[in-house]
């Protein structure tokens, strides 16, 4: 097997191995980063929803307390405020969602769906759990959800949610007395769930991965070609010429050619050495003839 083939085989092997390892590592890192980015987005949205709840509870509701005695204003309910704020966001980002999924809600739109009820049940069964992150398939693609439990920590919540008799009459006028009652202090009654689409960040990660791998392949190919050209020019061609002259000289053809070079590299040194050897050989043969 020729030297160039051996060299190319080893080089190709190294390139392929490097390509595979780089591809595997970079794909996983990019996908993990994309997921982490989605989780961070979801957390940010969850915090925004919590901020909206807090603002409503501490600043809006006190201003409207008097009006609540006349007519129930859902705008004073923190859950309603957070949901409405998110609904406004959804006008431009349809795949994002926020829901205060509740097992027994006052407002029917907050009722937990099957998978949301499962999430709530996990929180109820493992009281120490403060956050759940998961993925699910939706009609618009894969979606990541981040969930946090809704626990009744403030006794003031029970004014509206303990019994029908204790609830404000204006609230009953709006929602009736069938749902949203019987809540207990410290009970986990639902879950705040933020859903963020994974399609876009995953597609972005895949595009980044493709670009990276194509670039890597291009670099490998260029390196491969360049190394071959250099190997051929600097080594193979000169060694072949040396071998040819040496072969002719070894067969007694002392006129086969001169070992000449201006190069000072290893092959140049070898050429000079072979030249001196040929000169020595010619002189030795002349001395023998004399």
């Amino acid at each position: 097997m020729k030297l160039i083939w051996k060299f190319n085989l080893v080089l190709l092997g190294i390139f392929l191995l490097g390509f595979a390892i780089s591809g595997y590592v970079s794909y996983n890192v990019l996908q993990a980063n994309a997921r982490e980015e989605v989780v961070q987005n979801a957390r940010l949205m969850m915090e925004a929803a919590l901020a909206s709840r807090n603002y409503t509870n501490t600043q809006i509701k006190p201003l409207l307390d008097t009006q609540l005695k006349y007519v129930f204003l859902p705008q004073t309910v923190p859950a309603y405020a957070a949901t409405e704020q998110f609904n406004d966001l959804r006008k431009t980002h349809q795949d994002y969602a926020y829901k205060e999924a509740t097992l027994n809600p006052t407002n029917p739109r907050d009722r937990a769906s099957d998978w949301e009820a499962d999430v709530v049940q996990i929180f109820r069964q493992t009281p120490g759990t403060t956050e759940l992150v998961g993925e699910r398939d939706t009609p618009t693609g894969r979606s990541l959800y981040l969930a946090r439990p809704i626990q009744i920590k403030n006794g003031a919540c029970l004014v509206c949610h303990s019994t029908v008799e204790a609830a404000p009459k204006t609230m009953l006028d709006q929602y009736g007395g069938a749902n949203g009652f019987g809540w207990k202090l410290n009970e986990i009654i639902g879950s705040q769930i933020v859903s963020v689409p994974m399609t876009v960040p995953v597609a972005r990660a895949s595009a980044t991965f493709r670009t990276f791998m194509l670039s890597l392949a291009a670099v490998f190919a260029a390196t491969f070609v360049l190394l071959n050209v250099m190997l051929h020019t600097i080594v193979i061609r000169r060694v072949t010429k040396l071998a040819s002259i040496a072969d002719q000289v070894s067969l007694g053809n002392l006129e086969a050619g001169e070992f000449r070079t201006k190069s000072k590299d290893e092959i140049g040194v070898l050429t000079d050495a072979l030249g001196r050897m040929k000169t020595s050989l010619v002189q030795a043969l002349k001395m023998l003839e004399e």
């Binding site: 008097t66 009006q67 005695k69 006349y70 009459k169 204006t170």
Partner: protein, 288 residues
């Protein structure tokens, strides 16, 4: 000369002190057309104006007038309506009894903070007394409806149908209504029609603005004297005696006098003034 000037200064200072303390309340919000009847003259109302006992505040159309009392509490009158300050002590005076207002028509939000005497509102066939409470009234001809926002109120029927009836306790969150043709009744919440018709500003707590006008000196601008048509509802109402006495000087006015003359049967109290000759002792006619 110096002594005389000093005495004059002291006298002026002393004479002005009661004038400063003579306010019973301050008008802090005037939106829309509103006026006040003081003695016999209507004055245009402006924020910062002082209110006294006997004043009648009138809010036209959808105007609102808020008055903050010197003794504590606020009243926001929503038009079209009128509010008569029947008993309103001056700032610094010890109230002899409850403060009293009459609301013949219009909307009124009363935020009472007048312990221990309290405030009472005469409206239609009922008198509502409160001490520390917030109540919103709607007075119409011979009908009253009120919602107790907070605290409690005591309702006494003053119409012929309710004579001798025991006072009724109205609790926070309850709506009470009474009309001449309908008995007193309560509901556990404010009815939708009441809330829908209610002026928007009454849905919120009444703002406290009196400190802004503490040093304001607003000169009321006189408009015109009270006409008979404007006076007639008051002369026919529960404060008839007070108004008959108060409006007597208006009998000097030709038009007012003529209007009374045309209905003299309704005002027999004024007949001796209009026709004194009828009430002079008869001089016995000596037989010729």
């Amino acid at each position: 000369m110096k002594a005389a000037f000093f005495c004059l200064t002291i006298w002026l200072a002393l004479s002005m002190a009661p004038a400063e303390a003579a306010d019973a309340g301050t008008v802090t919000i005037v939106e829309g057309r509103a006026r006040v009847l003081r003695d016999l003259t209507w004055y245009k109302l402006a924020p910062g104006a002082r209110i006294r006992e006997g004043d009648i505040i009138e809010a036209m159309d959808a105007a609102q007038v808020q008055t903050e009392l010197a003794t504590g509490g606020s009243l926001n009158l929503g038009g079209p309506g009128a509010l008569y300050a029947a008993a309103l002590p001056l700032a610094g005076d010890k109230p002899a009894g409850p403060l009293e207002f009459a609301l013949p028509a219009g909307w009124l939000k009363l935020a009472a903070n007048a312990a221990p005497a309290g405030i009472r509102v005469q409206s239609g066939p009922a008198m509502v007394s409160v001490v520390e409470a917030i109540v919103v009234f709607r007075a119409q001809t011979d009908a009253i409806g009120f919602f107790v926002e907070s605290g409690g109120a005591k309702l006494v029927e003053t119409g012929p149908a309710g004579k001798g009836a025991a006072p009724v306790e109205a609790r926070a969150g309850e709506y009470w209504s009474q009309a001449a043709d309908r008995p007193l009744r309560s509901e556990p919440r404010a009815p939708a029609a009441f809330v829908a018709a209610m002026p928007r500003q009454l849905l919120d707590p009444l703002p406290v603005l009196a400190p802004r006008y503490k040093s304001a000196k607003v000169q009321l601008v006189a408009e015109q004297e009270i006409s008979f048509a404007e006076a007639e509802p008051w002369l026919a109402g529960p404060y008839r005696k007070v108004f008959l006495k108060r409006l007597t000087p208006r009998l000097r006015d030709r038009e007012f006098r003529a209007a009374v003359e045309a209905r003299i049967a309704r005002y027999p109290e004024w007949d001796p003034i209009l026709h004194p000759e009828k009430y002079q002792p008869k001089v016995p006619v000596e037989p010729k």
